[in-house]
Amino acid sequence: METISLKEISTESKIALLKELDFDSDGEYVLNSEGNKILDRYLEIPIKVNNMVILPGSTIILDDNILSISKYMEEFPDVL
């Protein structure tokens, strides 16, 4: 599986990508298609567009922090 670093993508393109994946953004946070902030799966905190990762597993968007990444690696051991 190929990897793209979101650090190298502009905010505008990240938002366009989110929309293409049936998410949305208010310019700062990641929103679901109903316009509500989505929460990090493990920490239950809102996710900023500029600090997100988008991972396989029915499209999982996480806050890019080591606790959430470690938890994801336990739940989906073969992805990262």
């Binding site: 599986m1 190929e2 990897t3 793209i4 670093s5 979101l6 650090k7 190298e8 993508i9 502009s10 505008e12 393109s13 366009a16 990508l17 293409e20 994946l21 493990y42 920490l43 905190i45 600090n51 997100m52 990762v53 988008i54 991972l55 396989p56 499209t59 890019d64 922090n65 080591i66 606790l67 959430s68 990444i69 470690s70 938890k71 690696m73 336990e74 992805v79 990262l80």
Partner: protein
């Protein structure tokens, strides 16, 4: 994914075109692509996951949430020279696992768990016993460890140690870092006097001061025989 596809993706990112965004999303949906952030985060998570220390604990600790707290302690140790990462992770550990989770992680970060296991190994009859003792100690961490914060004075350390020692734990640890080191060192002789049935082992570094009191089984046995 072929190198041609990769090149296509790179070009698309530079152009930010609508068409290429659609293509990226399609690659993602078909599991050809993932979008990551800070590569250092993943590197650290993988290093800790594959570390011998964690593999050791995986063999003995069967409680998954507890094992994850141990992993977080190892990650704290790995990032302890990076104040920003350290502070961010502490904050997130508290958010997810409350202060107790942070204390368990500290216990691991500071090498106290390793030292404790070393002591247990001297008198161990089975792996199951090791699992039980470690799990019990970590689940009841506040009964074994005085976590000295910046607010503590020597008298607070002594007071809290006396409270914990009333329960006669097999180990009793006083742990602090930074400015708290002085208060811990100032308390040392008085603590040794209070904890007469314990042997003191110090785990000091430039930044941390850990007093590790382990119960002297021989003294304790003699005391009970006399009673």
């Amino acid at each position: 994914m072929s190198s041609n596809v990769s090149e296509g993706i790179t070009t698309a990112l530079l152009k930010f075109s609508e068409e290429k965004i659609k293509q990226l999303a399609e690659y993602f949906r078909t599991n050809k692509l993932k979008f990551l952030g800070n590569s250092e985060t993943i590197k650290i998570a993988k290093e800790v996951r594959d570390s011998g220390e964690l593999i050791f604990y995986k063999a003995y600790i069967k409680d998954k949430p507890l094992l994850f707290n141990i992993k977080l302690g190892l990650i704290l140790r790995r990032v302890e020279n990076d104040p920003e990462k350290l502070s961010d992770l502490r904050e997130k550990i508290i958010r997810k696992f409350q202060i107790k989770g942070l204390h368990i992680a500290y216990f691991v970060q500071n090498g106290i768990l390793n030292r404790y296991v070393g002591i247990l190994l001297d008198n161990l009859d089975s792996a199951e016993t090791l699992n039980k003792i470690i799990a019990n100690t970590l689940e009841n961490i506040e009964k074994h460890v005085v976590f000295v914060s910046w607010k503590y004075k020597s008298r607070d350390i002594i007071q809290e140690t006396m409270t914990l020692s009333a329960q006669k734990p097999n180990i009793l640890i006083i742990s602090g870092a930074g400015n708290t080191r002085k208060e811990i060192l100032d308390s040392e002789s008085q603590l040794s006097a209070i904890l007469k049935n314990y042997e003191l082992e110090k785990m000091s570094t430039e930044k941390k001061e850990i007093l590790f009191f382990k119960i002297n089984m021989l003294l304790e046995k003699n005391k009970q025989t006399k009673i």
